[in-house]
Symmetry: C2
Subunit: 427 residues, 2 copies
Amino acid sequence: MANAYQTMETAELDAQIALLEQEAERLRAQGLSLDMARGKPSQEQTDLSRGMLDCVDATCDLTDEGLAADNYGVPDGLPSARRLAAELLQTDSANVLVIGSSSLNLMYDLVCHAYTHGIAGNEPWCHQGEVKFLCPSPGYDRHFRVTEHFGITNVPVAMGVDGPDMDEVERLVASDASIKGIWCVPKYANPTGVTYSDDVVRRLAALEPAAPDFRIFWDNAYMVHDLYDEGDELLNIFDALAEAGHDDMAYVFGSTAKVTFPSSGMAFVASSAANMREVRDAFAVMRVSPEKISQLAHVRFLKDAAGVRAHMRKHAAIVRPRFELVEQKLTDGLGGLDCATWTHPRGGYFVSFDGPEGSAKAIVALAAELGVKLTGAGATWPYGKDPKDTNIRIAPTYPSLDELSAALDVFVLAVKLVSARLARSER
Amino acid sequence: MANAYQTMETAELDAQIALLEQEAERLRAQGLSLDMARGKPSQEQTDLSRGMLDCVDATCDLTDEGLAADNYGVPDGLPSARRLAAELLQTDSANVLVIGSSSLNLMYDLVCHAYTHGIAGNEPWCHQGEVKFLCPSPGYDRHFRVTEHFGITNVPVAMGVDGPDMDEVERLVASDASIKGIWCVPKYANPTGVTYSDDVVRRLAALEPAAPDFRIFWDNAYMVHDLYDEGDELLNIFDALAEAGHDDMAYVFGSTAKVTFPSSGMAFVASSAANMREVRDAFAVMRVSPEKISQLAHVRFLKDAAGVRAHMRKHAAIVRPRFELVEQKLTDGLGGLDCATWTHPRGGYFVSFDGPEGSAKAIVALAAELGVKLTGAGATWPYGKDPKDTNIRIAPTYPSLDELSAALDVFVLAVKLVSARLARSER
């Protein structure tokens, strides 16, 4: 379908472009320096967790169920921390490890373990020739970088409104034994905000991969990051795997990075009992024992899943107006032009935006010229290559509402001007 | 030289054995359950750092030189944490990363990086066929496990009173390009307590390895762990490397694991500028950013190297009597029998003990029967294989003085009885 600029008479289009260029000059003259690139909580959000810093002090009990938090040992994490993580992931705490502050680090370690030692007795990936991973795209650049780092071929599959294109995923994993895994952010996906439908979760759990060492990397990063009281519901992957008789097929990750303090949260991983035996053995060589003082502070502050949800409602009150401002500014500025689509997430950290084909790099560059930093165009695709150059990730949480409003004005102008110029160049 | 039991008349030896067995029965009847196996600080020691838990609270400034500690970013670690680590390691803070709480984890990651990606443009170790590491023995079992985990051949070299046998080390690394590294604990080595002499440090720094991707893994774990005001002096490895023109040849590690809280300390790594560029690039894929709240607490508590040294004097006051008790009990119990030697460290966490050939496993087993747990015999050698079965690692810090005293009585009895039985079996 043609957009408003494409259907304009040339004279009118040229007049439009001139007007938009005037507007661009006006915005440039403001000398803005704004950042909509980073999936970071704002200061207001991190301040919500300051209370945690008082939960462990010099005089308090430093044990958890009789285990010392202030010494070596307890390699699986404190019992109460594992119980909290298990409650959030909806699984048995016996199969949960709470280790470090970065779930990305745990994902890296498990890809690396498969690469150097192999999974469940299979040949290490480093000795299997070409190895591939499925990358629902647009997706999370840091996932893709992990597999790329090991020379694994990242294969994009389309992200739909209810998750990855499952026809394609089923076809690929069934026919190609070199496909060893798929990256998934199943709830409020980065960057689309999509939550996988029950059907998609069941089909993923029921996959019949040609590779015996195929694993779903289930990064449930935004499981408690609802913007509204009524959050999206994600089917429990452990239940779906059990139904399909595929308990060993997924590693499940989560963290409190965007619940308490980014980089100083708790990271966790869960899987089947068999997988976790293997993970424990691998981790026993990598690490001595986890940061249990931080775990103790977390469990005393957050208490349980209900406590986490109550805390996340405070985050939502700060974040929701930012997402609503994105929706309003994009609708007001671009509605009716038919030159762009964007997602309307009910949680998570991002809005995914698509402009006309061949526009994304130019929009990001123009916005940068006008003082607004966006995530690099293409970052949401493997190797940074968005095949149609349409996708831009909008990260609205870090700026203040005023800054965000100014940044969105620049963004809308950039989208319009680039779209109009593209339409002109097609003549 | 024959020991006292070997030179006894057989009748006298049999009488001795009978007496020692009576004594063993008496000790067994006490039903002891004591642990001299673990290199862990005691509760009294970890309590010294409780004040750190008050250094960051809900109301305080959470920035360090203008950088937020409570959000993502600052991948190299907080400036003040890097400065503290650099002051301890005696190097430029520009070449120091402070990341996570486990220096073993950093060592693992660098061995793994070399294995999967290669060092400085060289072929990854996983594609180089047999790869070997030199393991000064007795040494630290967890070092040896890291290289063993990657199928690297651990080659023991003798530890002397001033460090590894450098004639052997020089000969091996010059002649064998498959030797890629050496594990070193250069000050108060685990388990001997030896501090490398200036000459050994200079010879290590001046090594001319056949392998271009040879690296010294310099784990300065006990750099501030003096028992006496006059501590051992270790030559600065960075200076020695610079003198030899070999700046890239070592990775240097340290942590505050046994300064503040084990598993909740700060870990750090330093090397040449060129090496650190490569390390940063590798770590950028592995991790998001480090636990900066913990770093902030550390620097506010410890302040600088002088602050660390003052804090370590408090540790020494607790630990020193334990080491002195080991020395006294071993001297009183075994002096003059010529059946054992042990080290007399002036810092660190261990005493290294050697009994008669073929005695260590039996001594550890007998002590366990009598209620005293020791580090498994052989653990201090690659693959757990002590070729002469003589070495036992004594870890005196964790038990109370009373417990340690009782445990040492059992140990001394076990050494005597096993030595006497060995002498009898030789007849």
